[in-house]
Symmetry: C2
Subunit: 193 residues, 2 copies
DNA sequence: CCCGTTTGTCTACAATTGTAGAATAAGAAT
DNA sequence: ATTCTTATTCTACAATTGTAGACAAACGGG
């Protein structure tokens, strides 16, 4: 019972997490409606039926992907605790994570790309409210902290949308430092109140 | 040949624009993938085939919807020309147009809700770049006007996403004046440079 | 060595999708 | 009134979707 995993080709937990990882990529790339179960399963090297075997349904898989993402490190709030110049640190983080390359901020990409599906939207809303929104609001002080937290999320989401999804040129090939400078100004105002 | 339209039930141009209007609503509600041709046609009181007859394909219809929207009044730039306090006027306009009720800013809602489809995304990108982006950048002066214009679009898009699509509570039931105040601060910095 | 459980695939189905072609009906022209 | 044009619908098809059930194969314990 304690065989330490001797290169077995039939590993349930490995398959499960392979599907989860593939789904995360696929959802980030194409959104809920755009990613097919066969495509997701193919990316994990298995058949489409495995999705239903391990997760019950595509919708449940989507929910678990979001749970995994929001269970991970809180990227926004981590930047907010760096006391004096939290605005600049946050700006740098956001600009780099919304750059052309790999999207690490898929907690936003996935919900935004899935906005054509009401059910997917609902699932994402719950997670965002319970995690990002609550965390950011908790890191702020003063009056209107909740509104300001929401605005920070909105700015991040908008930047993400415009840089990685719509890909408007002025933001895609913008100067990194200039972008950081402008964003730091925005965040500074929202953090201070 | 000059019958002035005596309540005829078979009017080509009327049907065409009925489909266009229904498509605009449907796309704003469900995005490109979420809105079916039968649903769109039904909203116009006709059969699904009329879509292909009048527009060739669903994709072409989508493009024409966006053309109609971006051919209309430039809402953002109109606010930007009000010289001294353009920031506040813009903030008010944006907050009101992203309120819970009717979405008048569908030039953003539709592309954002259609982000699961690569082709729809591409079509929207062209329009946004050629219209909004160019207009806003033209209304700004000083260095980095292009980046700042892009950021204004990003902020508007993010607010729209979070208030009308994801519907996070902190922004949905936020105090209007407080929201305007914060946004005016953001826009002020972006307009001035 | 063999049996039972787990892990996986195969075939298939019902629904929905966008779209095509033929058939119909309504209006205008003669 | 009859023909011609044009707007509209009907039927249908091929593809894709998520999902279900039966079957096959690999593993582990006896």
């Amino acid at each position: 019972m304690l065989t330490p995993a001797p290169t077995r080709s039939r590993d349930a937990t490995a398959t499960r997490s392979a599907i989860l990882a593939s789904a995360r990529e696929a959802f980030a790339r194409s959104g809920y409606d755009g990613a097919g179960v066969r495509e997701i399963a193919g990316g994990a090297g298995v058949t489409a039926m495995m999705v239903n075997r391990y997760f019950g349904s595509k919708e449940a898989l989507y929910a678990e992907v979001l749970d995994q993402i929001f269970g991970g490190p809180r990227i926004l709030t981590e930047a907010l605790i760096h006391a004096p110049d939290a605005a600049r640190i946050l700006a740098e983080a956001v600009v780099d994570m919304t750059a052309a390359g790999a999207p690490q901020l898929d907690g936003f990409v996935i919900p935004l790309r899935s906005a054509s599906n009401p059910r997917a939207l609902e699932i994402a809303r719950d997670r965002i409210e319970a995690n990002h929104q609550a965390d950011v609001a908790g890191a702020l002080t003063g009056p209107g902290a909740r509104e300001r937290a929401g605005l920070i999320l909105a700015v991040v989401a908008g930047l993400q949308s415009m840089r990685q999804t719509v890909e408007i040129s002025s933001l895609v090939d913008a100067d990194r430092d200039e972008l950081i400078r402008q964003l730091a100004g925005i965040f500074s105002g929202l953090i201070a109140g």
